[in-house]
Symmetry: C2
Subunit: 312 residues, 2 copies
Amino acid sequence: MRVTALAGGTGAAKLVRGLVASGVADLTVIVNTADDTEVWGLHVSPDLDTITYALAGRLDLERGWGRTDETFRCLETMAALEEPTWFALGDRDLATHLVRTRALRAGRPLSQVTAEIARRLGVRVGLSPMSDDPVRTRIRTPAGWLSFQEYFVREKARVEVLEVAYEGAADARPAPNVLTAIGDADAVVVCPSNPVTSIGPIVAIPPIAGALAATRATVVAVSPIIGGAAVSGPAGQLMAARGLPVSALGVARAYAPWLDALVLDGRDRGLAAELEAAGVRPVVGDILMTDRGSEAALARRVLGAVGVGRAR
Amino acid sequence: MRVTALAGGTGAAKLVRGLVASGVADLTVIVNTADDTEVWGLHVSPDLDTITYALAGRLDLERGWGRTDETFRCLETMAALEEPTWFALGDRDLATHLVRTRALRAGRPLSQVTAEIARRLGVRVGLSPMSDDPVRTRIRTPAGWLSFQEYFVREKARVEVLEVAYEGAADARPAPNVLTAIGDADAVVVCPSNPVTSIGPIVAIPPIAGALAATRATVVAVSPIIGGAAVSGPAGQLMAARGLPVSALGVARAYAPWLDALVLDGRDRGLAAELEAAGVRPVVGDILMTDRGSEAALARRVLGAVGVGRAR
């Protein structure tokens, strides 16, 4: 089975690892880059790195970001040099950002650099940024517009969100193999990532939304919301800011134009009828990934939903 | 007394530390930047960093370069990412290169960035690159032209040197306070650095050579050669390639147009008469700096030679 996944950070990393573990050989992962930021003059792609490190077996599982066996000596020294250090880069992690930044400055597209870094780390899954063009999530707060990392890391998501915008999305071109990967897949898996700031920017690129609507693949999403709250991160606050119910139903609504099935938690089975009424097939099960076993189990549940074909 | 020093790397760092320790309050150090190089996309200024770290009390004395309390995790990871690692940057050292590179890319001149980094590290001595313009030492070998770091670090100076060139020197402008620092000084101290690749590029900038010839300051150099060999590094090989005798006399000859006095080792007292004949006043003494005490003693010897006034 050919599977293409749309991915943000930590939750996506777990499900993608589960897809690999459950035997998907032909897997392409299209990753959000609207969280990308410049730190100390380096181009940092947090979601790409989380997925890459996870597939390379080098993601720090406790932190949920960055590399295993990491130290922070450069960061310490940056603080002594009076540089901002609210966005922490580890000493090993720096190598990735240095390689990426140099290649980008030499004019190479992010998709090429991403594939090259993944290859050098021994990753065999196809990994691609959603676009080689810059798309940036901007968050409007009472104090003004913030970048996603200013909102999420510096302010720890503790500010009121008035508006979310995807700067550059309307004109961004999908990275070279994105449309083919969606069009030629048997299944498109939308990972349990933040619908507003992880999946939102990907599908805000018009040709990508078009490809999702047109593909013959079954499009299955996994809800990142259990009960009325996000499994991790500020998805709830951001969904509310976008006028979406903070529930699996809100997720289905955000993905409505192209979603076939939504895998939602047993605790949310009460929403099944409403989902069906909205044209989305509910698949109820345990969706919390707490270890490698539950990652693979969720991946199998997702793939099981594909066999039934398109809902639309 | 106002003292201006011309400096390369390790030997200069020791003498400059000695000048500070022996009470010179008004000290400006003009540093070679023709060894500057780009590593992993970062602008590295090895001589500036050696002097800065030495004055900040953070130079690794055993290695002779880089910072104390250093680790090399990023370097290790760079090797795993198949990047060249023959030029070693430590994790703490990286902070300096990141700050410098970002400022240079933002259009700030190296002299400003250098002063800013020195200030943040608590250095109170005036530090300046010789020029804000790029000057690069190039070494011609039987296999072709190499950058200085390719010759010195990658090839470990084990290749034949046919020619040395200072790319960009003829058109480079001295950094903003360089000419004033030379013109207004009571003494100009030429540190015991490589005459060809450390001091050579500084004085290859025509207005700097002009200022040295015109200053009313006494110009005193310390020989980096004892007997027929350099105290450290490839000065001997490079002097020979330039047709200079590998001796204190060769040093005096390289600096002839503007040198007043040369401090040379007791073992070289036999050269004193020849130096006098060449118009350079010999100052004989112990010049090997093996600890803080001998650094300060050499500094006092150098300053003692100044009182006597210009030889020219």
